[in-house]
């Protein structure tokens, strides 16, 4: 069946046949795992909400209306209003964009630093490896939230500084992972072959070895996405991440905590939003982990 459709597209599909078969197999496995399907669905919903936020927000998320403050959830304000009379639903929708961006940025920055340093350490070896890996261990010696807090305090409060501080505490995990992968792939046949045709070290490392070591890293990245959102919102909650009036979910909970005992809706809904985004990321990571782990896979 597959070869019939492939004829039309010429050799391209033929050439990538093993990859396509693998992809089909993975899609099949995803379909069979209800939890990862749930994760993908949840994540798509958040992605959709973030994209459409400017069009579907019922109110301006920054508009202050003191006479309408502290409204319980009602028909006009589905999630109620906060201490400044701003519509909580609109703020959460706008916060979706912030959180998804934060997750992607933190993972990308730490992945980039980690890949470059870990890749070089694993490929070059020797003293370079020793220096890079000892530095990695050193950063890991700090409890990550503590280091992130100290760094963002030094850089000054704000969302971008918080993102930077968190990425700085997180790349060592990727460096370790990538180095391990590179070490195990370095001696593989296809690397030898690339070396024989005269590919440069740079090309061998970044075009041959690293793309082939991304499997387990994708699992980690998809879980870390949620973790990054949790960390950023923790900093926001402590008052050193995103600053009001920015509708970052952690900062919103921080603002609502003073009134929580009497007016719990202000902090409850942003909390639920964090919970579900992080849950989606964990479900996807979990599912991918199971799919990519050959030991659990073909049973």
């Amino acid at each position: 069946m597959e070869s019939d459709s492939a004829k039309g597209l010429g050799g391209i599909i033929d050439r990538h046949k093993p990859f396509l078969q693998e992809l089909r197999h993975i899609l099949y496995l995803i379909r069979r795992s209800p939890l990862s399907l749930l994760g993908i669905t949840l994540f798509s919903v958040f992605l959709l909400l973030a994209t459409l936020a400017p069009y579907i927000m019922p109110y301006d998320p920054f508009k202050i209306n003191l006479s309408g403050a502290f409204q319980r959830p009602n028909i006009e304000h589905l999630f109620g209003t906060d201490e400044m009379g701003r519509d909580i639903l609109s703020r959460i929708l706008w916060g979706c964009r912030i959180s998804l961006q934060v997750g992607v940025t933190v993972v990308l920055i730490s992945l980039c630093i980690g890949t470059i340093l870990g890749g070089i350490a694993g490929y070059v070896g020797g003293a370079v490896e020793e220096i890079i890996m000892r530095f990695t261990d050193l950063v890991l010696a700090f409890p990550s939230l503590v280091l992130a807090m100290a760094l963002s305090a030094a850089l000054g409060p704000g969302l971008n500084n918080a993102i930077f501080a968190i990425s700085i505490t997180w790349w060592p995990w990727y460096a370790r992972l990538i180095r391990g992968q590179v070490l195990s792939i370095r001696e593989a046949g296809f690397v030898e072959a690339a070396r024989c045709v005269g590919a440069s070290d740079f090309r061998i490392l970044f075009r041959h070895i690293i793309p082939n070591s991304l499997g387990p890293i994708i699992v980690n990245a998809s879980m870390d996405f949620g973790w990054a959102i949790l960390m950023t919102s923790s900093l926001g909650f402590l008052g050193i991440g995103a600053q009001p009036p920015e509708p970052e979910w952690g900062a919103m909970i921080n603002a609502g905590r003073l009134y929580f005992m009497d007016k719990p809706w202000i902090a409850t809904f942003p909390g639920l939003a964090i919970l579900f985004v992080v849950l989606a990321s964990n479900l996807i990571g979990d599912g991918l982990g199971e799919i990519l782990n050959p030991r659990l896979r073909r049973r």
Binding site: L35, R134, L138, V139, A141, F142, P143, S144, L145, V146, L147, M149, A150, L151, A153, A154, L155, G156, G226, L230, S233, S234, F237, L238, G239, I240, G250, I253, R257, F260, M261, P264, A267, T268, P270, G271, I274, L275, F276, V278, L279, S281, N282, L283, D286, G289, N293, R295, L296, R299
Partner: protein, 335 residues
């Protein structure tokens, strides 16, 4: 190499680690905006005082000399003076660290008591409804922001049910003699049962919240490691020998799955130390976390750096202990 030689080597390796840690904290405090001498003297201090302080702290010298001075001060236990409390940071830390260790250790107990049995249970019942349920609960646990969970827990258990007191490590009206600074230990040592009950009642909620995420992580890790172990040949072998399912799961699969869990527990201790920043400030818990989070908000750098170094040292010590345990647990490790 003998075990004691390994331990000695690990302790000696703490020295370069400490140098590295202080290098990083030193660079971070240099990143901070503002004049450190002015900050230490106070905003309204006259210019001469600032100048004297600048010379005394060596802030007019080249950077590497400053680092050496910083190191010698640290070795003497001088972390500087806190801007908020106007007292030496080391004194503030000495008063508060037992509170944090007590809380984190109690949370670790919660992690072990709940996480390990639930993980085993989940793996032993793989694919059954109960397994799915405990997996969903653990996923929810990993995904819940702890600062939000605290608010909910406070609302339910303290406001509506009135089961637990809000805030502080012990009922302030109870008199407790300070021996170790650990309230639970002190009240046992002085046979003060009122204090014991009060401090246990105060610690349950914060420890539960702090450990909640961790127990979910342990449960998930143990489950997946157990399932992996159960596919190994030695398990097939054990089954073929006719061992009962109980023996296969608990004796063979569990033992081999616990090692990564022990590593995870050590890492988690670090994560929970970070968590105390949030939990302690919400529960008004007299500990380093609350002190640290207030320091961060007030940009009190001597205090921030003191707490950071202290936390990192506690973390390093826990890792050291676990590594030694690890060498003991896993005979394959050649130290």
């Amino acid at each position: 190499m003998k075990l004691w030689q390994y331990i000695l080597r690990r302790i000696l390796l703490m020295i370069p680690l400490l140098i590295g840690i202080t290098l990083i904290t030193f660079s971070i405090s240099h990143l901070a905006p503002g004049d450190p001498a002015r900050l230490a003297a106070g905003i309204h201090a006259p210019e001469e005082t600032v100048e004297v302080l600048r010379q005394r702290l060596g802030l007019d010298k080249p950077v590497f000399v400053q680092y050496l001075l910083y190191m010698t001060r640290l070795l003497k236990g001088d972390f500087g003076t806190s801007i908020m409390t106007r007292r030496p940071v080391i004194q503030d830390i000495m008063v508060r660290w037992p509170g944090t260790i007590e809380l984190t250790t109690a949370a670790m107990l919660i992690v072990i008591i709940f996480g390990i049995p639930l993980g085993i249970f989940s793996a032993a019942n793989e694919g059954k409804p109960l397994d799915h349920m405990s997996r969903i609960i653990s996923l929810l646990g990993v995904s819940t922001p702890s600062f939000w969970l605290i608010l909910i827990v406070l609302l339910i258990f303290c406001k509506y049910l009135g089961l637990f007191p809000i805030g502080y490590r012990i009922d302030p009206t109870i008199d407790l003699q300070r021996i170790t600074g650990f309230h639970i230990v002190d009240s046992i040592l002085t046979l003060n049962f009122n204090a014991l009950i009060s401090s246990i009642r105060h610690i349950i909620l914060p420890a539960f919240v702090l450990g909640f995420q961790g127990q979910a992580t342990v449960q998930r890790l143990l489950r997946s490691k157990m399932l992996e172990s159960l596919t190994h040949d030695y398990v097939k072998m054990a089954r073929a020998k006719g061992l009962s399912e109980r023996a296969v799961v608990y004796k063979h699969a569990l033992k081999n799955s616990l090692i990564p869990v022990v590593t995870m527990l050590a890492l988690m201790y670090g994560g929970m130390l970070g968590g105390t920043f949030i939990i302690e400030s919400l529960f008004s818990w007299q500990g380093l976390g609350r002190y640290g989070s207030r320091a961060v908000l007030q940009l009190d750098f001597p205090a921030i750096m003191g707490v950071t170094i202290m936390y990192t040292m506690i973390f390093a010590l826990v890792n050291l202990i676990v590594d030694i345990l690890y060498a003991y647990l896993d005979p394959r490790i050649i130290y």
